[in-house]
């Protein structure tokens, strides 16, 4: 019999520990999508998809161990699901020739594919997120010039994750002359009274919330307790999911956050998952979680990974198992237009996306959604980060990285490989 062809997907997850409430739906989304593709399409062009989860607990060293373990099982693509693990793996993947997807997180500079050959911060980085939020605020105020003299507070998770947006916000501050207050919150963020005392003292016009896990709900509760209007609070897309607001309930009403993707059970891809996976009793989590914000994000990450494999197969041979390098090419040459997205059932869930050798992010689109006490509702149009500001910053940061690591920028020839 011909050898069964299997493309192996390692799944680094955290279903325990402080970030489990956020990590679990995310992990379930990824797993369910894999199951769905196998069930619906029989894999990718006949190549079956297999996977194995490894619990990282959001800890870097455990993440590295998982990476090493799953790498040995033929992994060709990793999604570390944590900024710390991403940093630790960035150097390792170069030697191992395995691409990293860091959708919506990771190093902002790694958008520059000429330097970061193996990193793919698809759909957005913290810089794009910060940029879009400032744009949104400007729009609300009625123009960038109106931002002058306004006070914007950044309440952030005191870790590389929380600190990433600062360079961009500093840049924007210089441009528009608003005041930027930086208020760090010690991880994991269970005690924020002093942060909110400062908010109350300074009375900023807006609060940008750069939190993850328990920090978000606690921030909302403290905001409620100090009487800071939730309507003036804007979260990054990691601070805009159900676990963040669920137990705050009424208190979170009016709170805004960026949305990288839609949520809800109506999109076709979600319906497919319900049909092919959950209805057969094979769902990874409870049914009502399907289609929640982080779940859907998991689905998207997995879908993009699989599309990269599909794209790679187009070049290197349909129905073959792809290597890490081939998958990397696939990721670098994604071209998901609306038609393709619709065909995948992802239409409306995310915007068209195409990557290139120079741009490992693809397009970055997001909307703002607002919690009404029971569910998230969109409250803005799709936005995009301002390339004018972003590009030079990314380039500069990437150059600095390259200099430190003594890396050469990739040649056009290398881009073809």
């Amino acid at each position: 019999a011909p050898e069964a062809k299997e493309q192996f997907f390692p799944l680094l997850v955290y279903r325990t520990g402080p970030y489990a409430p956020n990590g679990t739906p995310w992990a379930n989304g990824k797993q369910d999508y894999l199951k769905m593709i196998n069930a619906r399409d029989g894999g990718v062009n006949g190549v079956k998809l297999t996977y194995e989860e490894c619990e990282t607990g959001y800890a870097t060293d455990k993440g590295v161990e998982c990476y090493e373990r799953l790498k040995g099982k033929g992994a060709t693509l990793f999604d570390p699901q944590a900024t710390g693990i991403t940093f630790a793996l960035t150097d390792k993947v170069i030697k191992d020739k395995i691409p990293l997807i860091t959708l919506g997180y990771g190093l902002a500079a790694s958008q520059d594919g000429n330097v970061f050959k193996w990193n793919f911060p698809l759909m957005g980085s913290y810089w794009t997120a910060a940029d879009m939020l400032i744009q949104h605020l400007a729009k609300k105020e009625g123009g960038f010039d109106k931002l002058k003299g306004k006070k914007i507070a950044l309440v952030y998770h005191d870790s590389p994750f929380g600190k990433e947006p600062i360079p961009l916000l500093d840049e924007r501050q210089k441009m528009h002359g608003f005041d930027l207050l930086k208020i760090p919150v010690t991880a994991p963020g269970v005690e924020q009274k002093s942060a909110w005392l400062q908010v109350r003292q300074q009375r900023p016009d807006y609060v940008l919330l750069w939190g993850w896990g328990v920090m978000n709900s606690t921030a909302l509760k403290e905001a409620q307790a100090t009487g800071y209007p939730r309507e003036k609070m804007y979260g990054v897309w990691w601070a805009g999911a159900e676990p963040d607001v669920k137990d705050v309930g009424e208190g979170a009403k009016g709170y805004n956050a960026l949305a990288l993707n839609t949520s809800g059970q109506s999109p076709k891809v979600i319906q497919d998952i319900l049909k092919h996976v959950h209805d057969k009793g094979q769902g990874s989590g409870p049914k009502d979680e399907v289609g929640s914000v982080l779940y859907t994000r998991g689905v998207i990450i997995q879908a993009l990974g699989i599309e990269a494999v599909r794209r790679a197969q187009e070049r290197f041979g349909k129905g073959k198992v792809m290597t890490g390098e081939q998958v990397r090419w696939g990721l670098e040459n994604l071209a998901l237009d609306q038609k393709k997205l619709d065909a995948l059932g992802l239409g409306g869930v995310l915007r068209p996306l195409s990557t290139s050798c120079a741009d490992h992010m693809g397009s970055t689109w997001a909307r703002v959604h607002t919690w009404d006490g029971a569910k998230w509702n969109f409250s803005s149009d799709w936005m995009q980060a301002d390339e004018q500001i972003l590009k030079p910053m990314v380039k500069q940061a990437a150059d600095k990285y390259a200099a430190e690591k003594k890396l050469e920028r990739r040649t056009p020839a290398d881009c073809q490989s």
Binding site: A20, P21, P184, P188, V190, S194, L197, R200, G227
Partner: protein, 309 residues
Amino acid sequence: MGFVIETIFGGLMTGMLYSLIALGFVLIYKASGVFNFAQGAMVLFAALAMARFAEWIPLWTGISSPLLANLLAFVAAFAVMVVVAWGVERLALRHLVNQEGITLLMATLGITYFLEGLGQMVFGSDIYKIDVGMPKDPIFLFEKSFEGGVLINKEDLYAALIAAAMVALLALFFQKTATGRALRAVADDHQAAQSIGIPLSTIWVIVWSVAGFVALVAGIIWGSKLGVQFSLSLVALKALPVVILGGLTSVPGAIIGGLLIGVGEKVSEVYLGPALGGGIEIWFAYVLALLFLLVRPQGLFGEKIIDRV
């Protein structure tokens, strides 16, 4: 001026909340000489039990009154904590009589892992809600005297009152009752306590149950503030400087320590933090405790550390 008062007030309230957790540490230490690192895990475990029972009991029994459901859940959660206490004694402490403090401390870390695993497995690792009707909105005082008034968080106020009541009760218990005296004896010397007939097993089950009760109360208060999820167990870290500042063996010390640490860390963060780049409160609390200890190595109210030849 209004803001200064508000900061101090906020610190006091937070401090009381720390005290509530510190109390659990003091209780077990004072009564068995064990520095119980599992206190944080117990808070989480108790809160998880409470939250889930409050969710399940209406499903199981069809009770619709939230008050009744909460009450039943409280009883059920306490029962669970008693079982935990019993298990801890039976499976761990009983076999560790007369061992050194550090061995006992490590054992409680083992218990921490166990409880964290068990809690999440039985009760789930999502975020759960405890709603015992704590008021969430702020009140403003002295609005006439200061611009904007002095904001006070009602929830914190209630919590602080509960904490104070529990501390008073426990302090009395230790100082005034024969059992309290026996507990202090056990902490000093397990073997000698055994030799005069103090039944360590029973005593430990009782103490750990009381600590479980304290954990439950702390869990409910913190849980209704933070939501019940894993991070609740990390709150214990904030209580540690309180415990050593107040003195490991002093129940009132837990309160005073809590207040000092609470005010110290809030004032430092709000007034010093911005100059230093922020986020200093966590280490500031420890440094504060450290400085106090340099003056009084046994903490403010702790029993003097005895070394005699």
